[in-house]
């Protein structure tokens, strides 16, 4: 009953989505309010049905109903409850259901809170959302149906991939999907604007917060995924330039560009066409990411299972939406009204530079992701594009971007004064140079570029602080006035500062971790001591333990420094009999922002065990940075005021440039 009702609810959602993709458009053409508002109620009903369907699947997993093939293949009756729930999206079918549920959630949100949108814009937006939804409902029902049944139910399930049996699965995919799918809203708005042939201030006012929401979730999702890989895979790596990681990084880069250009559009009515194009590109990259991960083009942990019909189906969806939207753009973009004007050196100009660098960086990642795939397919030649490629291409682009970041928020709208900004950033520059000097004198070894990169990170953080100091008038004004101005400062300004500082923080973490990490790899016997980065790590012994659905070998390490005992670390190796595979559970000891990391290898017959111990200085900054960025995003989102960019009045002969 639960299974079939869930299945039927999904089918009904498809039916509603089909109606939602046609009727409101007819209504918009006839300017009929009743037909247009069909979009709203169907979007809400769709959310209700997909939600019911998703809840049904969760219940089936929780009840271990092995008469459902999806549950049988991915669950086990002895699995802890939390993994029974997270296992719902720990497989292809379930994760696609989560994808459409989130899509329906966003559609429902637009329907519920879109009262202040022009009726026809809302109708168009929801219709486009329904196109996407219909395509994916069909995809799920036809090629990856989670509600298929087994007539003679087996008594036990096949269990979830052990690597996925972790709390990370509860957080990472939903966050990432909220990000991916969130960009569908700006996509729908862009298509709606192209279809209506006009793009007005209400458009920009709506797109920015939605983009911001998606961006916040995507940022957190990527950071979370990276931290999960770091502690679960047992190699201490946090980013592998794996195609699947790139698939999430590309929408992030394009989305970051979109966020900034949407800002220009809202505040200054400029960069309209560019914003539309970025909206399309960002969501296209999200779809591409879905295709790469879900089609089995790439075999990795993320691909769960591979099935060619799925790949072809998603490829069709991909071609339809990306090709369709881009040709619509090509046909209609010229008919859109051009926006405001600005001088090349101005806040707008700085944001254009930001957009340029981000899109080029995104293109680089796209190339690095697709080139090896194309080579393998066309020339039957296996190759991998890894860190060296990105260090040569992506890193310089980002260094340039980071160098420009502090200048952006300090330039005035419409026409800026680069020299004045440089003077005001002098303090930040000095701070970063001093840091470079100190780092150079203090540490030995590592790349000569590392201190420079740290200096760059400090410059970005100091630049963000300088911006706040300038705006509040700290130093030059009395303290009471400063406090008053700080309170009056829009939260979006604080958000900008936090997000930009987050970039610097992450950069420092990345540089420190990659340059000065130390590792110790050896086979250790009981009571043997390893010395690493000033810590003494002693192996106390090995124990066996029985978990709910696995057996576990635990190694107990005693960590001390200068003779003082610090902590006990217990990394372990779990073996899961049902899947006949094992996972390593690394043990982490956090000291400030640095971490000591122990993971286990294979045990030898004599009771010794292979051990990998890493000391990773300031590694946590890598993830604190994105958290800071997301916090900045939340601050900016909480700022409900309208965004107006007051232009700097022209003094001398103004020389204006067209916006696009």
């Amino acid at each position: 009953m639960i299974a079939e009702s869930g299945h039927y609810a999904l089918v009904l959602a498809l039916g509603l989505a089909l109606i939602q993709s046609i009727v409101p458009l007819i209504g918009a053409r006839l300017r009929d309010a009743a037909l247009m508002s069909v979009a709203r109620s169907t979007a809400l009903a769709q959310l209700l049905f997909v939600g019911a369907s998703f809840v049904a699947l969760v219940m089936l997993h929780v009840n271990s109903d092995f008469s459902v093939a999806n549950v049988y293949e991915n669950s086990h009756s002895m699995k802890p409850l939390i993994y029974k729930i997270t296992g719902v999206w720990g497989n292809h079918e379930g994760s696609m259901l989560l994808w459409v549920s989130i899509l329906a959630l966003f559609g429902g949100l637009v329907a519920a809170f879109g009262n202040n949108l022009p009726l026809s814009l809302r109708a168009h937006v929801l219709a486009v959302q329904a196109w996407i939804a219909s395509a994916f409902y069909l995809f799920i029902l036809v090629t990856s149906n989670p509600f298929l049944r087994i007539v003679n139910p087996p008594i036990e399930g096949r269990d979830l991939n052990p690597v996925l049996q972790d709390i990370g699965l509860a957080v990472h995919p939903p966050m990432l999907y909220l990000g991916y799918v969130g960009f569908s809203i700006s996509f729908s708005f862009a298509i709606a604007a192209l279809m209506e042939g006009r793009i007005d201030a209400a458009w920009a006012r709506w797109v920015r917060p939605w983009t911001l929401v998606a961006w916040i979730f995507l940022t957190l999702g990527i950071a979370m995924g990276s931290y999960w890989a770091y502690y679960e895979l047992g190699w201490g790596g946090w980013w592998f330039w794996d195609p699947v990681e790139n698939a999430s990084l590309m929408p992030w880069l394009a989305g970051t560009a979109l966020l900034h250009s949407a800002l220009v559009m809202e505040k200054r009515n400029a960069l309209k066409v560019w914003t539309i194009l970025l909206s399309i590109l960002t969501f296209s990259l999200s779809l591409l990411g879905t295709f790469l991960v879900r089609s089995g083009v790439i075999t990795s942990v993320h691909a769960f299972a591979t099935d060619p019909t799925r790949g072809v189906f998603i490829l069709l969806i991909l071609c339809l939406f990306i090709g369709g939207s881009l040709s619509l753009f090509a046909g209609r973009a010229t008919s859109l009204k051009q926006g405001g004007l600005f001088a090349p050196i101005s806040r707008e100009g700085a944001l254009v530079l930001n957009n340029l660098l981000l899109t080029v960086a995104c293109a680089v990642v796209l190339f690095g992701t697709l080139y090896p795939l194309a080579m393998e397919m066309l020339a039957d030649f296996k190759m991998s594009v890894g860190a060296p490629f990105y260090n040569l291409t992506f890193a310089p682009l980002f260094a340039l971007l980071l160098l420009a970041v502090p200048f952006g928020p300090m330039l005035a709208w419409k026409r800026g004064d680069l020299l004045g900004v440089t003077q005001r950033l002098l303090a930040a520059g000095v701070a970063s140079l001093v840091t470079v000097a100190i780092v150079w004198g203090w540490v030995r070894g590592g790349s000569a570029l590392a201190p420079l990169a740290i200096g760059l990170g400090v410059f970005v953080i100091a630049g963000a602080v300088t911006d706040l100091v300038e705006r509040t008038g700290l130093v030059r004004l009395p303290f009471a006035t400063v406090l008053h101005r700080a309170r009056g400062l829009p939260r979006s300004a604080w958000g900008t500062a936090f997000a930009h500082a987050g970039l610097g923080v992450a950069l420092i973490g990345i540089v420190c971790e990659t340059t000065w990490n130390s590792e110790y790899i050896a086979t250790m016997k009981q009571n043997e001591v390893a010395h690493i980065a000033g810590y003494d790590v002693k192996l106390d012994g090995l124990f066996q333990r029985q978990g709910p659905n696995y057996r576990e070998m635990i190694a107990e390490f005693n960590v001390s420094r200068d003779g003082a005992m610090l902590s006990v670390m217990t990394p372990s190796k779990r073996s899961f009999t049902t899947r006949g595979s094992s996972t390593t559970e690394a043990a982490l000891l956090t000291r400030g922002a640095s971490q000591l990391y122990i993971s286990l290898g294979d045990a030898t017959a004599e009771g010794a065990i292979a051990v990998r111990i890493y000391h990773k200085p300031l590694v946590l900054l890598i993830w604190w940075g994105p958290v800071l960025m997301a916090f900045g995003g939340v601050l900016s989102l909480s700022d409900r005021r309208l965004r107006v960019g007051a232009p700097k009045p022209a003094r001398a002969k103004p020389r204006l440039q067209p916006a696009e």
Binding site: M1, Y8, I19, L35, T42, P118, Q546, T577, R641, A646
Partner: protein
């Protein structure tokens, strides 16, 4: 029946979601919300925002003035274009379309829903949650061999040191064709029950079954250990002979099997198998039995043996189709076809083999040499 009732309710709810806004028609059309979302409203709000920023001291007066001028200019333009849009909102001609939409919801939606659901769904199947199944397990529920195996596996998961359990499980897994699992079960059985020639040779059998009937080096090692523990262990001896045959040492194989038969009790059930194997490698028949018995057992075993050999050969062929790099495997396959008297297939296999390893000069050379010794030249 309740299921269909639930379906009907859901369908009605979905239809209602489409009909509701249509029924409200244009009369409740919210003029307020229409205006609120318009461009003009946004610009008006922006103007108010500038005043607030100016009062808070966030922007200076000249900047505020410039912004006001810009926004006012846009406001005027927007007001112009919007009034021209308002004029078009005429409700009368769309009544026809509203009816069409209503019909679409009333007829199309249930039609699509049933049309998609019926081929995919299984409305007759009940839910089978774990709790309910445990109760029903003793009575009506089909307790197939697989389910019993799963229960034993669950038991062993909790008590992995139960040697007797592994002993029971391993041959069942072997029979079910889950050879890899059987290998693990036999290994566990050896660990917890201790060494015995039978377990060693059972393990070896499972390993070679997992390898598609090929006595691999790993399997051979197990048989040799069993042989060392008990020189008369029949299974170990048989498979050592098979290994010798698969390596092409037919005389060794014949010797091993002849010795095995000599020591074997007359009523041993595996006698016919060994005899037919011996016949295959060209060893003499055994005179100890009457001609009739030999004929009977030979007939009986012939079918079994052929089926077994053919199965092995087919497995090997499919494995090679997936992974053609294994020169040894190809040679074994060609040899098998020759032994079975199927020269055409042998020629076909050798052509396939040449194609599969064509890229690797070293392998190709090995293959050609091997084929030469088999008498298949070019």
């Amino acid at each position: 029946m309740t299921l269909w009732f639930v379906f009907a309710l859901m369908t009605v709810a979905a239809i209602f979601a489409v009909l509701w806004p249509l029924g409200r028609s244009g009369r409740t059309q919210d003029q307020g919300s229409q205006n609120q979302g318009s461009e003009v409203a946004v610009y008006k709000d922006q103007l108010a925002e500038i005043e607030r920023d100016l009062a808070a001291g966030l922007i200076a007066a000249p900047e505020a003035e410039a912004a006001r001028v810009e926004i006012s200019r846009r406001l005027l333009a927007a007001a112009g274009s919007e009034s021209s849009l308002e004029l078009k909102s005429d409700l009368a001609p769309s009544l026809k379309w509203r009816r069409a939409a209503a019909v679409l919801a009333l007829v199309g939606l249930p039609f699509v829903a049933i049309g998609v659901y019926m081929p995919l769904g299984s409305p007759r199947l009940q839910d089978f949650p774990l709790a309910q199944r445990d109760r029903g397990a003793g009575s009506g529920m089909a307790r197939s061999l697989e389910n019993l195996v799963v229960q034993v596996e669950q038991h062993l998961e909790k008590n992995p040191t139960d040697g007797r359990g592994w002993n029971v499980l391993a041959p069942v897994l072997q029979r079910l064709g889950r050879f890899d699992d059987a290998v693990r079960a036999y290994r566990n059985s050896l660990t917890y029950n201790g060494e015995s020639p039978e377990r060693r040779s059972d393990l070896g059998e499972a390993i070679s079954a997992a390898a598609g009937g090929v006595v691999t080096a790993e399997a051979k090692a197990e048989f040799e250990r069993a042989h060392a523990l008990d020189a008369d262990d029949p299974k170990a001896n048989y498979f050592l002979g098979l290994a010798a045959e698969q390596d092409g040492r037919k005389d060794d194989a014949a010797n091993i099997w002849r010795a095995l038969l000599a020591k074997a009790p007359a009523d041993a059930p595996w006698r016919p198998l060994v005899q037919s194997s011996l016949a295959r490698v060209g060893g003499g028949t055994m005179p100890a039995l009457s001609d009739e018995t030999i004929a009977a057992s030979k007939d009986m075993a012939e079918g079994d043996r052929n089926a077994m050999v053919r199965g092995m050969v087919e497995r090997l062929a499919t494995r090679l189709k997936q992974n053609g790099n294994d020169v040894e495997g190809w040679l074994r396959l060609v040899r098998a076809y020759l032994v079975m008297g199927d020269r055409d297939k042998a020629m076909g296999a050798s052509t396939d083999a040449r194609q599969a390893v064509a890229k690797d000069a070293e392998r190709l050379r090995q293959l050609n040499e091997g084929l030469k010794t088999l008498g298949l030249d070019g």
